[in-house]
Symmetry: C2
Subunit: 248 residues, 2 copies
DNA sequence: CGGAGTGTTGAGATGCCTCAAGTGAAGTGG
DNA sequence: CCACTTCACTTGAGGCATCTCAACACTCCG
Protein backbone atom coordinates (compact mmCIF):
# COMPACT_ATOMS: atom_id res chain seq x y z
CA UNK A 1 0.00 0.00 0.00
CA UNK A 2 2.75 2.36 0.90
CA UNK A 3 4.55 1.45 -2.32
CA UNK A 4 1.51 2.09 -4.42
CA UNK A 5 1.01 5.46 -2.91
CA UNK A 6 4.61 6.39 -3.47
CA UNK A 7 4.34 5.38 -7.10
CA UNK A 8 1.18 7.46 -7.57
CA UNK A 9 2.95 10.56 -6.41
CA UNK A 10 6.01 9.99 -8.47
CA UNK A 11 6.33 12.80 -11.04
CA UNK A 12 6.81 10.43 -13.97
CA UNK A 13 3.82 8.35 -13.00
CA UNK A 14 1.64 11.41 -12.65
CA UNK A 15 2.82 12.84 -15.94
CA UNK A 16 2.45 9.67 -17.99
CA UNK A 17 -0.92 8.91 -16.45
CA UNK A 18 -2.13 12.33 -17.53
CA UNK A 19 -0.81 11.87 -21.03
CA UNK A 20 -1.06 8.19 -21.94
CA UNK A 21 -4.09 6.85 -23.73
CA UNK A 22 -4.12 3.68 -21.65
CA UNK A 23 -4.13 2.91 -17.94
CA UNK A 24 -0.75 2.04 -16.53
CA UNK A 25 -0.12 -1.54 -15.48
CA UNK A 26 1.49 -2.32 -12.15
CA UNK A 27 4.79 -3.17 -13.80
CA UNK A 28 4.77 0.00 -15.88
CA UNK A 29 4.11 2.01 -12.79
CA UNK A 30 6.92 0.25 -10.99
CA UNK A 31 9.28 0.83 -13.92
CA UNK A 32 8.55 4.56 -13.91
CA UNK A 33 8.80 4.93 -10.16
CA UNK A 34 11.95 2.82 -10.09
CA UNK A 35 13.91 4.97 -12.51
CA UNK A 36 17.13 6.02 -10.80
CA UNK A 37 16.99 9.82 -10.52
CA UNK A 38 19.69 12.18 -9.47
CA UNK A 39 18.29 15.31 -7.92
CA UNK A 40 19.68 18.79 -8.45
CA UNK A 41 18.60 22.30 -7.53
CA UNK A 42 19.00 25.45 -9.55
CA UNK A 43 18.50 29.09 -8.82
CA UNK A 44 16.58 31.51 -10.98
CA UNK A 45 18.33 32.23 -14.29
CA UNK A 46 20.70 29.29 -14.04
CA UNK A 47 20.96 27.12 -17.12
CA UNK A 48 20.30 23.41 -16.75
CA UNK A 49 21.50 22.57 -20.25
CA UNK A 50 22.82 24.81 -23.02
CA UNK A 51 22.79 24.72 -26.79
CA UNK A 52 25.36 22.50 -28.53
CA UNK A 53 25.75 20.22 -25.53
CA UNK A 54 25.50 16.45 -25.98
CA UNK A 55 23.76 15.31 -22.82
CA UNK A 56 23.89 11.71 -21.68
CA UNK A 57 20.79 12.10 -19.57
CA UNK A 58 17.39 13.78 -19.51
CA UNK A 59 15.82 15.65 -16.66
CA UNK A 60 12.34 15.99 -15.29
CA UNK A 61 11.10 19.17 -13.67
CA UNK A 62 10.15 18.27 -10.11
CA UNK A 63 9.25 21.71 -8.79
CA UNK A 64 9.49 25.23 -10.13
CA UNK A 65 9.29 26.57 -13.66
CA UNK A 66 11.78 26.17 -16.51
CA UNK A 67 12.01 27.73 -19.96
CA UNK A 68 13.47 26.57 -23.25
CA UNK A 69 15.04 29.40 -25.21
CA UNK A 70 17.26 30.29 -28.14
CA UNK A 71 19.12 33.49 -28.89
CA UNK A 72 20.17 35.43 -31.97
CA UNK A 73 23.77 36.41 -32.49
CA UNK A 74 23.23 39.82 -31.01
CA UNK A 75 21.73 38.27 -27.91
CA UNK A 76 18.02 38.72 -28.49
CA UNK A 77 16.24 35.89 -26.76
CA UNK A 78 13.17 33.88 -27.67
CA UNK A 79 11.55 31.57 -25.18
CA UNK A 80 10.03 28.68 -27.11
CA UNK A 81 8.37 26.80 -24.26
CA UNK A 82 7.69 26.81 -20.54
CA UNK A 83 7.92 23.66 -18.49
CA UNK A 84 5.90 22.78 -15.41
CA UNK A 85 6.55 20.01 -12.89
CA UNK A 86 6.31 16.61 -14.53
CA UNK A 87 7.64 17.79 -17.88
CA UNK A 88 10.81 16.31 -19.38
CA UNK A 89 11.94 19.26 -21.49
CA UNK A 90 15.04 17.75 -23.10
CA UNK A 91 13.61 14.34 -23.70
CA UNK A 92 14.59 14.61 -27.33
CA UNK A 93 18.26 14.41 -26.41
CA UNK A 94 17.61 10.69 -26.35
CA UNK A 95 17.38 10.74 -30.14
CA UNK A 96 19.05 14.00 -31.21
CA UNK A 97 22.53 14.05 -29.77
CA UNK A 98 23.27 17.76 -30.13
CA UNK A 99 20.95 20.15 -28.30
CA UNK A 100 19.60 22.99 -30.40
CA UNK A 101 18.32 25.02 -27.44
CA UNK A 102 19.07 25.94 -23.86
CA UNK A 103 16.89 25.50 -20.81
CA UNK A 104 17.02 27.74 -17.78
CA UNK A 105 15.28 28.01 -14.45
CA UNK A 106 12.79 30.85 -14.27
CA UNK A 107 12.23 30.21 -10.59
CA UNK A 108 14.06 28.16 -7.99
CA UNK A 109 13.98 24.77 -9.65
CA UNK A 110 14.35 21.18 -8.59
CA UNK A 111 15.01 18.62 -11.29
CA UNK A 112 15.71 14.90 -11.47
CA UNK A 113 18.23 13.58 -13.95
CA UNK A 114 17.75 10.17 -15.53
CA UNK A 115 20.39 8.63 -17.75
CA UNK A 116 19.58 7.81 -21.34
CA UNK A 117 20.71 4.29 -20.57
CA UNK A 118 18.08 3.84 -17.88
CA UNK A 119 15.37 5.27 -20.10
CA UNK A 120 16.28 3.02 -23.01
CA UNK A 121 16.26 -0.01 -20.76
CA UNK A 122 12.83 0.95 -19.48
CA UNK A 123 11.43 1.42 -23.00
CA UNK A 124 12.82 -1.96 -24.03
CA UNK A 125 11.08 -3.60 -21.10
CA UNK A 126 7.87 -1.58 -21.32
CA UNK A 127 7.28 -0.51 -24.92
CA UNK A 128 3.98 1.21 -24.18
CA UNK A 129 5.86 3.69 -22.02
CA UNK A 130 7.95 4.61 -25.03
CA UNK A 131 4.78 5.44 -26.90
CA UNK A 132 3.53 7.52 -24.00
CA UNK A 133 6.75 9.54 -23.85
CA UNK A 134 6.66 9.92 -27.60
CA UNK A 135 3.22 11.38 -27.13
CA UNK A 136 4.59 14.00 -24.75
CA UNK A 137 7.08 15.22 -27.34
CA UNK A 138 4.31 15.43 -29.91
CA UNK A 139 2.20 17.50 -27.54
CA UNK A 140 5.14 19.85 -27.11
CA UNK A 141 5.17 20.18 -30.88
CA UNK A 142 1.53 21.09 -30.80
CA UNK A 143 2.20 23.82 -28.26
CA UNK A 144 5.01 25.11 -30.45
CA UNK A 145 2.68 25.45 -33.42
CA UNK A 146 0.13 27.31 -31.36
CA UNK A 147 2.84 29.67 -30.15
CA UNK A 148 3.87 30.29 -33.74
CA UNK A 149 0.33 31.24 -34.63
CA UNK A 150 -0.03 33.32 -31.50
CA UNK A 151 3.25 35.19 -31.85
CA UNK A 152 3.02 35.52 -35.60
CA UNK A 153 -0.57 36.52 -36.13
CA UNK A 154 -1.97 38.08 -32.98
CA UNK A 155 -1.25 41.51 -31.60
CA UNK A 156 0.29 41.76 -28.21
CA UNK A 157 -2.90 42.18 -26.21
CA UNK A 158 -4.59 38.95 -27.37
CA UNK A 159 -1.18 37.32 -27.54
CA UNK A 160 -0.54 37.86 -23.89
CA UNK A 161 -4.06 36.86 -22.99
CA UNK A 162 -3.53 33.60 -24.83
CA UNK A 163 -0.28 32.87 -23.04
CA UNK A 164 -1.84 33.47 -19.63
CA UNK A 165 -4.71 31.13 -20.45
CA UNK A 166 -2.31 28.40 -21.48
CA UNK A 167 -0.10 28.74 -18.44
CA UNK A 168 -3.02 28.82 -16.05
CA UNK A 169 -4.56 25.71 -17.52
CA UNK A 170 -1.28 23.80 -17.54
CA UNK A 171 -0.53 24.77 -13.97
CA UNK A 172 -4.02 23.72 -12.96
CA UNK A 173 -3.51 20.26 -14.37
CA UNK A 174 -0.50 19.78 -12.12
CA UNK A 175 -2.24 21.23 -9.11
CA UNK A 176 -0.31 24.49 -9.03
CA UNK A 177 -3.25 26.77 -9.73
CA UNK A 178 -6.53 27.09 -7.91
CA UNK A 179 -9.37 29.50 -8.57
CA UNK A 180 -7.58 30.83 -11.64
CA UNK A 181 -4.68 32.01 -9.56
CA UNK A 182 -1.11 30.74 -9.53
CA UNK A 183 2.48 31.59 -8.75
CA UNK A 184 4.04 33.00 -11.91
CA UNK A 185 7.48 34.39 -11.09
CA UNK A 186 8.19 35.76 -14.58
CA UNK A 187 9.69 39.19 -14.93
CA UNK A 188 8.23 41.47 -17.58
CA UNK A 189 11.46 41.12 -19.46
CA UNK A 190 11.04 37.33 -19.56
CA UNK A 191 7.43 37.63 -20.63
CA UNK A 192 8.61 39.75 -23.51
CA UNK A 193 11.09 37.05 -24.49
CA UNK A 194 8.26 34.55 -24.75
CA UNK A 195 5.93 36.87 -26.63
CA UNK A 196 8.50 38.38 -28.95
CA UNK A 197 7.99 41.92 -27.64
CA UNK A 198 9.84 44.40 -25.44
CA UNK A 199 9.59 44.49 -21.67
CA UNK A 200 8.41 48.08 -21.99
CA UNK A 201 5.58 46.96 -24.19
CA UNK A 202 4.79 44.07 -21.87
CA UNK A 203 4.33 46.61 -19.14
CA UNK A 204 1.84 48.63 -21.16
CA UNK A 205 -0.18 45.61 -22.28
CA UNK A 206 -0.20 44.29 -18.74
CA UNK A 207 -1.68 47.56 -17.62
CA UNK A 208 -4.37 47.34 -20.28
CA UNK A 209 -5.25 43.82 -19.21
CA UNK A 210 -5.38 44.94 -15.61
CA UNK A 211 -7.49 48.01 -16.37
CA UNK A 212 -9.88 45.84 -18.35
CA UNK A 213 -10.37 43.84 -15.17
CA UNK A 214 -9.15 40.61 -16.77
CA UNK A 215 -6.06 39.82 -14.72
CA UNK A 216 -3.61 41.00 -12.14
CA UNK A 217 0.04 40.03 -12.17
CA UNK A 218 2.10 41.27 -9.27
CA UNK A 219 4.37 39.91 -6.64
CA UNK A 220 4.97 36.87 -8.79
CA UNK A 221 1.32 35.85 -8.73
CA UNK A 222 -1.03 35.77 -11.70
CA UNK A 223 -4.76 35.96 -11.05
CA UNK A 224 -7.33 35.73 -13.79
CA UNK A 225 -10.42 37.63 -12.71
CA UNK A 226 -12.53 36.93 -15.78
CA UNK A 227 -11.55 33.69 -17.45
CA UNK A 228 -14.18 33.82 -20.14
CA UNK A 229 -13.27 37.34 -21.18
CA UNK A 230 -9.56 36.52 -21.18
CA UNK A 231 -10.07 33.37 -23.23
CA UNK A 232 -12.17 35.33 -25.67
CA UNK A 233 -9.62 38.11 -25.93
CA UNK A 234 -6.89 35.56 -26.59
CA UNK A 235 -9.00 33.34 -28.84
CA UNK A 236 -8.01 30.57 -26.48
CA UNK A 237 -9.16 27.07 -27.45
CA UNK A 238 -7.41 24.48 -25.28
CA UNK A 239 -7.71 21.58 -27.70
CA UNK A 240 -4.10 22.02 -28.83
CA UNK A 241 -2.98 21.05 -25.32
CA UNK A 242 -4.32 17.54 -25.95
CA UNK A 243 -5.47 17.18 -22.36
CA UNK A 244 -6.93 13.79 -21.81
CA UNK A 245 -10.14 14.87 -20.15
CA UNK A 246 -10.88 17.16 -23.08
CA UNK A 247 -10.28 14.45 -25.65
CA UNK A 248 -13.38 12.44 -24.92
CA UNK B 1 19.27 -6.46 -57.87
CA UNK B 2 16.22 -4.84 -59.34
CA UNK B 3 14.51 -5.10 -55.96
CA UNK B 4 17.37 -3.46 -54.17
CA UNK B 5 17.38 -0.56 -56.54
CA UNK B 6 13.66 -0.10 -56.16
CA UNK B 7 14.03 -0.04 -52.40
CA UNK B 8 16.79 2.55 -52.57
CA UNK B 9 14.56 4.90 -54.48
CA UNK B 10 11.58 4.43 -52.27
CA UNK B 11 10.77 7.73 -50.54
CA UNK B 12 10.61 6.19 -47.06
CA UNK B 13 13.91 4.42 -47.52
CA UNK B 14 15.60 7.60 -48.70
CA UNK B 15 14.13 9.63 -45.90
CA UNK B 16 14.94 7.22 -43.10
CA UNK B 17 18.43 6.63 -44.44
CA UNK B 18 19.04 10.36 -44.34
CA UNK B 19 17.74 10.64 -40.81
CA UNK B 20 18.55 7.43 -38.96
CA UNK B 21 21.72 7.13 -36.94
CA UNK B 22 22.31 3.56 -38.10
CA UNK B 23 22.51 1.83 -41.47
CA UNK B 24 19.33 0.10 -42.52
CA UNK B 25 19.30 -3.68 -42.57
CA UNK B 26 17.91 -5.54 -45.53
CA UNK B 27 14.77 -6.46 -43.65
CA UNK B 28 14.23 -2.90 -42.49
CA UNK B 29 14.64 -1.71 -46.03
CA UNK B 30 12.17 -4.29 -47.21
CA UNK B 31 9.70 -3.34 -44.49
CA UNK B 32 9.83 0.31 -45.52
CA UNK B 33 9.61 -0.37 -49.22
CA UNK B 34 6.84 -2.89 -48.68
CA UNK B 35 4.50 -0.52 -46.86
CA UNK B 36 1.19 -0.47 -48.69
CA UNK B 37 0.75 3.06 -50.00
CA UNK B 38 -2.28 4.62 -51.57
CA UNK B 39 -1.34 7.40 -53.96
CA UNK B 40 -3.27 10.61 -54.35
CA UNK B 41 -2.75 13.87 -56.20
CA UNK B 42 -3.69 17.35 -55.08
CA UNK B 43 -3.74 20.69 -56.77
CA UNK B 44 -2.27 23.87 -55.39
CA UNK B 45 -4.19 25.18 -52.36
CA UNK B 46 -6.07 21.95 -51.77
CA UNK B 47 -6.05 20.65 -48.20
CA UNK B 48 -4.80 17.14 -47.57
CA UNK B 49 -5.93 17.08 -43.95
CA UNK B 50 -7.66 19.74 -41.87
CA UNK B 51 -7.69 20.69 -38.22
CA UNK B 52 -9.93 18.65 -35.88
CA UNK B 53 -9.88 15.61 -38.16
CA UNK B 54 -9.04 12.19 -36.72
CA UNK B 55 -7.08 10.53 -39.48
CA UNK B 56 -6.62 6.77 -39.60
CA UNK B 57 -3.56 7.06 -41.82
CA UNK B 58 -0.48 9.19 -42.40
CA UNK B 59 0.83 10.46 -45.68
CA UNK B 60 4.25 10.96 -47.18
CA UNK B 61 5.01 13.75 -49.62
CA UNK B 62 6.17 12.07 -52.83
CA UNK B 63 6.54 15.14 -55.03
CA UNK B 64 5.72 18.80 -54.69
CA UNK B 65 5.62 21.05 -51.64
CA UNK B 66 3.17 21.04 -48.74
CA UNK B 67 2.61 23.42 -45.84
CA UNK B 68 1.29 22.96 -42.32
CA UNK B 69 -0.74 25.93 -41.15
CA UNK B 70 -3.14 27.21 -38.53
CA UNK B 71 -5.53 30.15 -38.63
CA UNK B 72 -6.91 32.66 -36.16
CA UNK B 73 -10.64 33.18 -35.83
CA UNK B 74 -10.60 36.11 -38.20
CA UNK B 75 -8.81 34.04 -40.81
CA UNK B 76 -5.23 35.19 -40.44
CA UNK B 77 -3.01 32.33 -41.39
CA UNK B 78 0.33 31.15 -40.04
CA UNK B 79 2.34 28.54 -41.86
CA UNK B 80 4.26 26.54 -39.25
CA UNK B 81 6.26 24.25 -41.53
CA UNK B 82 7.01 23.38 -45.12
CA UNK B 83 7.33 19.80 -46.26
CA UNK B 84 9.53 18.47 -49.02
CA UNK B 85 9.39 15.04 -50.70
CA UNK B 86 10.12 12.29 -48.20
CA UNK B 87 8.54 14.10 -45.27
CA UNK B 88 5.63 12.60 -43.35
CA UNK B 89 4.00 15.77 -42.10
CA UNK B 90 1.15 14.29 -40.08
CA UNK B 91 3.09 11.44 -38.59
CA UNK B 92 1.99 12.51 -35.15
CA UNK B 93 -1.59 11.50 -35.91
CA UNK B 94 -0.34 8.05 -34.99
CA UNK B 95 -0.22 9.17 -31.34
CA UNK B 96 -2.40 12.27 -31.15
CA UNK B 97 -5.80 11.39 -32.46
CA UNK B 98 -7.15 14.90 -33.11
CA UNK B 99 -5.19 17.05 -35.57
CA UNK B 100 -4.36 20.53 -34.33
CA UNK B 101 -3.36 21.86 -37.77
CA UNK B 102 -4.16 21.66 -41.44
CA UNK B 103 -1.86 20.75 -44.32
CA UNK B 104 -2.28 22.06 -47.83
CA UNK B 105 -0.53 21.68 -51.15
CA UNK B 106 1.49 24.75 -52.13
CA UNK B 107 2.21 23.22 -55.53
CA UNK B 108 0.79 20.29 -57.43
CA UNK B 109 1.36 17.54 -54.93
CA UNK B 110 1.60 13.78 -54.98
CA UNK B 111 1.29 11.96 -51.67
CA UNK B 112 1.19 8.36 -50.50
CA UNK B 113 -1.15 7.36 -47.69
CA UNK B 114 -0.17 4.62 -45.26
CA UNK B 115 -2.60 3.34 -42.65
CA UNK B 116 -1.73 3.65 -38.99
CA UNK B 117 -2.29 -0.06 -38.76
CA UNK B 118 0.45 -0.82 -41.30
CA UNK B 119 2.84 1.58 -39.59
CA UNK B 120 2.24 0.09 -36.18
CA UNK B 121 2.79 -3.40 -37.54
CA UNK B 122 6.06 -2.29 -39.08
CA UNK B 123 7.27 -0.68 -35.86
CA UNK B 124 6.42 -3.82 -33.91
CA UNK B 125 8.45 -5.91 -36.34
CA UNK B 126 11.32 -3.42 -36.75
CA UNK B 127 11.65 -1.35 -33.60
CA UNK B 128 14.65 0.62 -34.84
CA UNK B 129 12.45 2.09 -37.54
CA UNK B 130 10.19 3.42 -34.84
CA UNK B 131 13.14 5.23 -33.32
CA UNK B 132 14.10 6.64 -36.71
CA UNK B 133 10.61 8.00 -37.32
CA UNK B 134 10.56 9.38 -33.82
CA UNK B 135 13.73 11.18 -34.74
CA UNK B 136 12.00 12.81 -37.71
CA UNK B 137 9.30 14.28 -35.49
CA UNK B 138 11.95 15.61 -33.13
CA UNK B 139 13.75 17.27 -36.01
CA UNK B 140 10.49 18.92 -36.98
CA UNK B 141 10.32 20.23 -33.44
CA UNK B 142 13.78 21.67 -33.85
CA UNK B 143 12.73 23.47 -37.02
CA UNK B 144 9.71 24.83 -35.20
CA UNK B 145 11.90 26.32 -32.47
CA UNK B 146 14.18 27.94 -35.01
CA UNK B 147 11.14 29.42 -36.74
CA UNK B 148 9.94 30.81 -33.44
CA UNK B 149 13.28 32.52 -32.91
CA UNK B 150 13.36 33.71 -36.50
CA UNK B 151 9.82 35.06 -36.57
CA UNK B 152 9.91 36.42 -33.06
CA UNK B 153 13.30 38.08 -32.91
CA UNK B 154 14.51 38.93 -36.40
CA UNK B 155 13.29 41.72 -38.63
CA UNK B 156 11.80 40.81 -41.93
CA UNK B 157 14.93 41.17 -44.03
CA UNK B 158 17.08 38.68 -42.11
CA UNK B 159 13.97 36.64 -41.41
CA UNK B 160 13.31 36.07 -45.07
CA UNK B 161 16.99 35.43 -45.73
CA UNK B 162 16.93 32.74 -43.07
CA UNK B 163 13.87 31.05 -44.53
CA UNK B 164 15.38 30.95 -48.00
CA UNK B 165 18.57 29.40 -46.66
CA UNK B 166 16.60 26.71 -44.87
CA UNK B 167 14.43 25.88 -47.85
CA UNK B 168 17.35 25.76 -50.25
CA UNK B 169 19.32 23.45 -48.02
CA UNK B 170 16.40 21.13 -47.41
CA UNK B 171 15.59 20.98 -51.10
CA UNK B 172 19.22 20.25 -51.87
CA UNK B 173 19.23 17.26 -49.56
CA UNK B 174 16.37 15.72 -51.52
CA UNK B 175 17.92 16.57 -54.87
CA UNK B 176 15.50 19.35 -55.77
CA UNK B 177 18.02 22.15 -55.76
CA UNK B 178 21.26 22.49 -57.69
CA UNK B 179 23.66 25.40 -57.76
CA UNK B 180 21.62 27.21 -55.13
CA UNK B 181 18.61 27.33 -57.37
CA UNK B 182 15.30 25.54 -56.97
CA UNK B 183 11.64 25.58 -57.87
CA UNK B 184 9.80 27.51 -55.17
CA UNK B 185 6.22 28.08 -56.26
CA UNK B 186 5.22 30.20 -53.25
CA UNK B 187 3.18 33.34 -53.78
CA UNK B 188 4.22 36.42 -51.90
CA UNK B 189 1.04 36.09 -49.89
CA UNK B 190 2.05 32.59 -48.81
CA UNK B 191 5.55 33.73 -47.94
CA UNK B 192 3.99 36.33 -45.72
CA UNK B 193 1.96 33.63 -43.98
CA UNK B 194 5.14 31.77 -43.13
CA UNK B 195 7.04 34.85 -41.99
CA UNK B 196 4.23 36.50 -40.10
CA UNK B 197 4.19 39.59 -42.32
CA UNK B 198 2.02 41.07 -45.06
CA UNK B 199 2.31 40.19 -48.72
CA UNK B 200 2.91 43.87 -49.43
CA UNK B 201 5.83 43.85 -47.08
CA UNK B 202 7.12 40.59 -48.54
CA UNK B 203 7.25 42.35 -51.87
CA UNK B 204 9.34 45.20 -50.53
CA UNK B 205 11.79 42.96 -48.67
CA UNK B 206 12.08 40.75 -51.73
CA UNK B 207 13.06 43.78 -53.72
CA UNK B 208 15.69 44.72 -51.16
CA UNK B 209 17.13 41.21 -51.25
CA UNK B 210 17.16 41.34 -55.04
CA UNK B 211 18.74 44.78 -55.17
CA UNK B 212 21.41 43.62 -52.73
CA UNK B 213 22.24 40.94 -55.27
CA UNK B 214 21.53 38.13 -52.84
CA UNK B 215 18.63 36.34 -54.52
CA UNK B 216 16.09 36.39 -57.27
CA UNK B 217 12.64 34.89 -56.89
CA UNK B 218 10.46 34.96 -59.95
CA UNK B 219 8.49 32.59 -62.08
CA UNK B 220 8.32 30.17 -59.18
CA UNK B 221 12.10 29.78 -59.03
CA UNK B 222 14.38 30.88 -56.24
CA UNK B 223 18.04 31.47 -57.00
CA UNK B 224 20.56 32.40 -54.36
CA UNK B 225 23.32 34.41 -55.97
CA UNK B 226 25.46 34.89 -52.89
CA UNK B 227 24.97 32.10 -50.39
CA UNK B 228 27.50 33.36 -47.87
CA UNK B 229 26.02 36.84 -47.80
CA UNK B 230 22.48 35.48 -47.50
CA UNK B 231 23.44 33.11 -44.69
CA UNK B 232 25.16 35.96 -42.91
CA UNK B 233 22.20 38.27 -43.37
CA UNK B 234 19.88 35.60 -41.98
CA UNK B 235 22.27 34.43 -39.25
CA UNK B 236 21.77 31.01 -40.74
CA UNK B 237 23.45 28.13 -38.91
CA UNK B 238 22.17 24.81 -40.26
CA UNK B 239 22.88 22.76 -37.15
CA UNK B 240 19.22 22.92 -36.11
CA UNK B 241 18.34 20.88 -39.20
CA UNK B 242 20.20 17.92 -37.69
CA UNK B 243 21.47 16.79 -41.07
CA UNK B 244 23.49 13.66 -40.70
CA UNK B 245 26.52 14.78 -42.65
CA UNK B 246 26.79 17.84 -40.45
CA UNK B 247 26.56 15.85 -37.27
CA UNK B 248 29.93 14.24 -37.50
C1' DC C 1 -11.32 40.35 -75.14
C1' DG C 2 -12.23 40.24 -70.33
C1' DG C 3 -11.52 38.52 -65.73
C1' DA C 4 -8.95 36.70 -62.02
C1' DG C 5 -4.99 36.15 -59.57
C1' DT C 6 -0.43 37.89 -58.57
C1' DG C 7 2.98 41.35 -58.24
C1' DT C 8 4.33 46.43 -57.63
C1' DT C 9 4.35 50.84 -55.71
C1' DG C 10 2.77 55.01 -53.05
C1' DA C 11 0.89 57.41 -48.98
C1' DG C 12 -0.72 57.57 -44.61
C1' DA C 13 -1.72 55.16 -40.19
C1' DT C 14 -0.29 52.48 -36.17
C1' DG C 15 1.75 49.05 -33.18
C1' DC C 16 5.67 48.43 -31.17
C1' DC C 17 10.50 49.93 -30.27
C1' DT C 18 14.15 52.88 -28.43
C1' DC C 19 15.84 55.94 -25.40
C1' DA C 20 15.53 58.09 -21.21
C1' DA C 21 14.14 59.40 -16.70
C1' DG C 22 12.21 58.22 -12.52
C1' DT C 23 9.86 55.16 -8.86
C1' DG C 24 9.86 51.59 -5.59
C1' DA C 25 11.27 47.47 -3.18
C1' DA C 26 14.79 44.36 -1.62
C1' DG C 27 19.47 43.45 -0.31
C1' DT C 28 24.15 44.89 1.39
C1' DG C 29 27.56 46.87 4.06
C1' DG C 30 29.09 50.29 7.13
C1' DC D 1 19.64 51.63 11.32
C1' DC D 2 20.70 54.14 7.45
C1' DA D 3 23.11 55.18 2.95
C1' DC D 4 23.77 52.80 -1.17
C1' DT D 5 23.24 49.64 -4.87
C1' DT D 6 20.60 46.89 -7.71
C1' DC D 7 16.91 45.31 -10.19
C1' DA D 8 12.29 45.28 -11.70
C1' DC D 9 8.65 48.17 -12.85
C1' DT D 10 6.55 52.51 -14.78
C1' DT D 11 5.78 56.25 -17.82
C1' DG D 12 6.66 59.68 -21.57
C1' DA D 13 8.22 61.17 -26.18
C1' DG D 14 9.84 60.38 -30.53
C1' DG D 15 11.09 57.09 -34.21
C1' DC D 16 10.76 53.21 -37.16
C1' DA D 17 9.07 48.77 -39.04
C1' DT D 18 5.32 47.13 -40.66
C1' DC D 19 0.36 47.49 -41.82
C1' DT D 20 -3.66 49.22 -44.33
C1' DC D 21 -5.75 50.99 -48.13
C1' DA D 22 -5.65 51.88 -52.79
C1' DA D 23 -4.32 52.15 -57.50
C1' DC D 24 -2.24 50.06 -61.23
C1' DA D 25 0.63 46.61 -64.12
C1' DC D 26 1.31 42.06 -65.68
C1' DT D 27 0.31 37.34 -66.93
C1' DC D 28 -2.41 33.63 -67.67
C1' DC D 29 -6.51 31.59 -69.35
C1' DG D 30 -11.09 30.85 -70.79
Amino acid sequence: MADTRRAENHPFVRKIESVALFDLSASERAALAGLPMQMADYETDQDIVVEHERPKRCFAVLSGLAATYKTTQDGRRQVTAYHVPGDVPDFQSLHLEVLDFSICAVSPLRVGFVTHEALRAMFAAEPRLGDAFWRTTLIEGSLAREWMLNNGRRESYPRMAHLFCELMLRLETVGLAVDHSCQLPLTQYELGDALGITSVHVNRILRELRESGLITLSGGRLTIHDWDALAKAGEFDPSYLHLRRLDE
